[in-house]
Each structure stands twice: as C-alpha cells, then as structure tokens.
C-alpha cells in the first residue's frame, strides 16, 4: 500500500491543480495577515474562507482525480494487489497531497505570522474538513459510474453542508421558536462536519459572543472535556465512515 500511496502522491504533486490550490491558500492567508492589523480578525476571516474553500476544493479535486485515475486503478487492479489496498492507497495519496497543500498554504503562514493556539486549531479544523470531504468525494466517485454525475454529487454534498443545512437549521429555529432548542442545536451541529468545525473554532475565538447569552449551554457542552472529546469523536466518524463505506463498495464493484 505504501508504494501505491507513493505513486499516486507523486502523480498528484505533478498536477498543476494542487499547486494552484497551494498558491491560492498561501496568497489568501498571507494577504489577510498583511492587510489586517488585528490578527484575531485575520484568523476569523481566514476561518470564513477556509470553511468555504477547503471542503469545496477537497471534494471536487478528489472526485475528478479518482475518475481520472481510472486508468491507474485499471492497470493495477489486474496486478496481485488487494483491491481495498489499491483504493486506500489512492485515497491516502490524495489526502496527503491535499494536507501538504494545506500545510504550505495555511499552516506555514499561520506558523510564521500567528503561532497561537487559535492558529493551530484553525489549521487542524481545515485539515479535518479536508479529510472529511475527501472521504465523501471518494464515496460519491465509487458510487457513481458517470464522471459528471459523480462531480455533481460531490458538489451537491458540499453545497448541502455549507448552505442548505444551515438554512434548514434556521428554519427549524424559527418554526419552533417557542421550544427550548439548545440541546437540539448541539445535536444538529453534530450532523454537519462544517458546523462542527466552525463551532469548535468559534469557542476559541469568539467566546464572548458565544457566551453572551446562549452560550452557557454551548460553552458548558463544548467547553468541557466530555464535549470536546465527543466533538473529536464525531469528527473522526465523519472522516472514517464514508471512506470505509466507499472501500466496501469498491471491493464489490465491477470495473
């Protein structure tokens, strides 16, 4: 499997898309820190941007790459290699490449310009989202045979988690305004990895506003060890379940 990771990683790193992605992230993060005198605000803006860009690029890139590497997979599937290892290898190669891009594009600027705990957790949040959306993209690529359809599914998933889901939450909030919804909200935030990452981040940066009112329960829940542990656990679930399911499907797929 190591060799497959190696070869797909080498292949991806030669890809211009990943270079462009690195450059984009680097330009965004450096210019944010240059333009913004207040580093906390810069981290906030960077969070906003990375919550949008990172999942989007991760899912589209992975879907397209998986379809494009159909040849690679076809070539190797006839070789004496376990099938699941093949997909694991390609998947790990993809997320390694994306994480390298993320480290150079966001991690390094943060390390140099804002080496704080909030900087670190911004990086970790983006990394977690990269893995989650790569997993989801791999799943949609394995499930759909048609390239356009697969990319469509990935885009839809991204759109759903970024916009539609929050819209639904807002709707629920207003429909049920008379009921105590804090616990429900905590539950709902678990069902969306982007929300989960965002809230985890906010609790570090905007504690004041979060605690302003509501906050007590949010803070109590996410702030204590149990809540933080649960957040990490749920995030890990979001990373692993889609890819495990994708591998299962891939094992039974006719190529």
């Amino acid at each position: 499997m190591k060799k497959i990771i190696k070869y797909s990683l080498l292949d991806i790193l030669r890809n211009r898309v990943i270079l462009a992605y690195t450059a984009l992230l680097a330009v965004v993060s450096i210019s944010l820190f240059m333009m913004e005198d207040n580093p906390v605000k810069a981290v906030m803006s960077l969070l906003n941007i990375s919550l949008l860009i990172v999942p989007l690029v991760s899912s589209i890139f992975c879907t397209i790459y998986l379809y494009n590497s159909a040849e690679f997979i076809e070539l190797l599937v006839a070789q004496p290699i376990r099938r699941s290892r093949l997909l694991w290898g390609v998947y790990l190669g993809m997320i390694t490449a994306l994480l390298i891009a993320l480290s150079l594009g966001i991690g390094l600027p943060l390390l140099l310009l804002q080496p704080t705990l909030s900087g670190l957790s911004l990086f970790l949040t983006s990394a977690a989202l990269t893995i989650v959306f790569s997993s989801l993209a791999t799943l949609s690529a394995v499930l759909t045979r048609d390239k356009a359809k697969g990319i469509g599914v990935s885009l839809l998933l991204w759109f759903y988690f970024t916009f539609i889901y929050d819209g639904i939450v807002l709707l629920v909030l207003f429909q049920m305004a008379d009921y105590p919804l804090e616990t429900t909200m905590i539950g709902m935030s678990m069902l969306n990895p982007i929300d989960l990452g965002r809230i985890g981040m906010l609790l570090q940066l905007d504690i004041s506003a979060m605690m302003g009112l509501t906050g007590a329960l949010f803070q109590d829940f996410f702030g204590n060890g149990f809540g933080a542990g649960l957040v990490i656990l749920v995030m890990l679930g979001w990373m692993t379940f889609p890819i495990l399911f994708a591998i299962r499907r891939f094992n039974n797929k006719d190529l």
Binding site: N38, V40, K41, M44, L47, N48, L51, L52, T162, F163, D166, G167, V169, L170, L173, F174, A177, L181, E182, T184, M185, I186, M188, S189, D195, R198, I199, L202, D206, I207, S208, A209, M210, M211, G212, L213, T214, G215, A216, F218, Q219
Partner: protein
C-alpha cells in the same frame, strides 16, 4: 471638581493637626484603645510593629492613628476591627486583617460611622468580610489602600469599599481584589472614584446604585464576575476608565440600568462579553470610547431613548450593536466601524453611504438565542449581505449617516 474636593479635604486634614498636639506611642502588648481613651483631641498615636488583638477599637475623638511598619490589627474573625465615630480622624499605615463575619451585621475592617473629614490611607487590608465601610460619611478620603480577600462566594464575602448614604467621598488609588463587589455605592452623591484598580472580584468591580452626581475616572475594572453595574442614578460622569476581560454569560463591561443625563467618554472596553449593556437609560452621551474585541459593542434595549453615541471606535467586536426593538430613539453618528465597507469619493474622511451597525444575525440571535450556533455560517453571511442591500427586518433608521473612514486616535 476632584481637585476642589481634594483641596477641601486636604485643608480639613491639615487643620486637625495643631502644633501643640501630643504624641502617644503604643507598643506590642499595650492597648491601642487605652491610648485612644487617654489621648485628647488632636493627638497623634503611633503604633509600633506587632500584632494587636483588641476585640474592636472605637475612635470617638479627633485623632491621627498611625502605624509604623504596618502593625497588624487582627479581628480574629469575630470583631469589627476599627470603628470611627468622630470627625477629623486619620488612620494610616496599618495592616488590618480578619474582621468578623456575620450574616446579621456587616462587620468591616474599618467603619466610618456618621463622621466627616476622615482619612483612611496607605493601609493593607487582608481577609476581611467588609473592607472599608462608610455609613453616613461625608467629606472623607479613602486612598492608596491595598484590599484583598479570598472570599469564596457572594454570600460569604463582603465588599471592598462599601459606601452607604454618604456624600463628598474621594476614593483614590486603591487596589481591590477578591471581594464581593470591589467598590459599592448606594445613596452616595457628589463623590469621585479615581485611579482605582478593581480586579477579580466575585460580583461587580464597581456597583453603583441611587448615587447621583458622581464622577469616576482612570479606574481599571478587570476580570470581575459581572463587570461593572451602574444603576438608578443621574448625572454620572465616567471618563478614561478601562473595562477589561469581563467574561461570562451575565458579565458586562458596564451595565447601565436606569441611568440618565450621564456622560461616558474616552473609556476603553476590551474583551468583554458585552462592553455596554443599556436598559431604561436616557440622555446619555457615549463619546470617543474604544470598543475592542468585545462580543457585543453596545447592547441597547428598546427602553433606552435620546442617547447619543458619537465618535467611538468599534473594532473587532463580534457584534457592534444589538437591540431587541425596532424603534430607534437613539442616535449613532460619526463613529468608526471596522466592518464598514462603504467608500469615500470626496475624500473628506466620512463614508458616503450610511453604515448599519445592527446586523441581521444580531437581531436573529436576540430573538432566538439558539441561533448562535449558526454564527459565521456562510448561509448567515449570504442573508446578511441581502439584508444590507435591502433592509427588511433590521430597523431602517438604525444607521450611522457619517461613518468615519479611519479610526479615531484615542
């Protein structure tokens, strides 16, 4: 006004030391109370280093009581340590510890009881229930005292400096830490609070009620359980104070409740849950303050009217303004808002389009607290952009018509 008051008190203190005053020396093992009883009006009593447990000392005549190298007056957790019932008394240079605790009487380290022209200076107060307690005091000075306690809860801790039904007090340069309220004013008028530091008290750094025509300047209130509360008062002047790091679901930089005709200027509000929370307040001028990195800049309830918010800097706050009503009876003008995205074509330093400091999301959260979960969601971002272009929900009139393009040099 402060200077005048200081001058008045200064001259009063000076007159109480006639040239022919006698000096008395109290050594460890001797009784301070006995020395007081023996002394005549205007004498000086010097207390040598040591620990004195006297089960309550009462100063009932004009005297100067001076500690040499901080002699310790111990209340043994049972007694009020010093009670001053006469005018023209000075107490300075003592370490006063362990005043009695009682849920019936508010026992203090030092109590000024129906006296005027009293000075309490340069003392160290440790582990007292109440620190310095002014009851019907007037024209008195409480300065440069270092007041600390490690009280556990609001119930078993008293206030650092407590003033009740007093007037013309000067509270200056004290450091108060670990009490219930750092400084507590109730029915206190025409007094000044200057250069104090109130840090990590259990409830409020400063608690202010029914106290009119008071001034407080250059104080720092930091990390107090609930910040600062100023309530039911008129004509309060607040200048160059620092309100820092007051976190918590019920913490405010400053809580203004039923305040009128008052003035807050050149203050700094940094990292508070809500820098200013206003309720039932009117005719306030909030001018040239700095609001930095607060959850809310100003939470102004619909019960406030005729307040003027001018030339302040709002920088890096999660929400600049929040309100619970749609009626706008206050004016926001010429402030600097870091979230302003307008332009300045004629280059006069004033933005050409108005700024709406009340975001749609702040309004949503005000109505439905749980919506906080969506804070900074891209979805909310979209809604806010739409609302900025075509205001439908946020009050049309809540806007700054002359937003400054640059922060004011404050």
């Amino acid at each position: 006004m402060i200077r005048q008051l200081l001058f008045v008190i200064g001259t009063q203190l000076a007159t109480l030391l006639p040239v022919q005053a006698a000096e008395h020396l109290v050594k460890p093992g001797e009784s301070i109370q006995a020395a007081i009883n023996k002394a005549s009006k205007g004498d000086l009593i010097k207390v040598m280093p040591g620990t004195y447990r006297e089960k309550g000392i009462i100063i009932n005549k004009q005297l100067v009581l001076r500690g040499i190298d901080y002699p310790v007056l111990d209340g043994e957790k049972k007694y009020e340590v010093l009670t001053i019932t006469a005018d023209h008394v000075v107490v300075e240079g003592f370490e006063i510890i362990r005043s009695g605790y009682s849920s019936m009487d508010e026992l203090a380290a030092v109590r000024i009881k129906q006296a005027s022209y009293v000075g309490i200076r340069n003392n160290r107060l440790r582990e007292n229930f109440f620190g310095i307690y002014c009851q019907h005091a007037s024209y008195s000075l409480i300065a440069n005292n270092d007041i600390k306690s490690t009280g556990g809860s609001e119930l078993d801790a008293g206030n650092g400096i407590h003033a009740w039904k007093s007037d013309h007090l000067v509270i200056d340069g004290n450091f108060i830490n670990g009490h219930r309220d750092g400084i507590y004013f109730e029915f206190v008028t025409e007094s000044t609070i200057t250069n104090n530091k109130s840090h990590r008290n259990i409830r409020y750094g400063l608690h202010f009620m029914f106290s009119h025509q008071d001034i407080y300047t250059n104080n720092t209130f930091s990390e107090n359980g609930a910040g600062v509360a100023v309530m039911y008062s008129r004509q309060v002047t607040m200048i160059r104070n620092h309100f820092l790091d007051n976190w918590g679901s019920a913490a405010y930089g400053i809580l203004l409740k039923d305040i009128s005709d008052s003035y807050a200027a050149y203050n700094e509000f940094s990292r508070n849950t809500a820098a200013i929370y206003m309720e039932g307040s009117s005719r306030l001028t909030i001018f040239a303050n700095r609001f930095l990195q607060n959850g809310y800049g100003i939470r102004i309830q619909a019960s406030c009217d005729n307040n003027v918010i001018r030339k302040n800097n709002f920088i890096a706050n999660s929400f600049d303004i929040a309100t619970n009503g749609s009626l706008v009876l206050n004016s926001f003008n010429e402030n600097y808002w870091d979230k302003y995205e307008g332009f300045d074509l004629n280059r006069d330093g004033i933005g050409d389009v108005p700024y709406r400091p009340l975001s749609l999301f702040a309004l949503i959260v005000e109505r439905n607290n749980s919506a906080m979960m969506l804070f900074r969601s891209p979805m909310v971002g979209l809604l806010e952009k739409a609302e900025k272009i075509m205001p439908g929900i946020t009050p049309e009139k809540l806007k700054d018509d002359q937003p400054s393009m640059k922060p004011f040099p404050l």
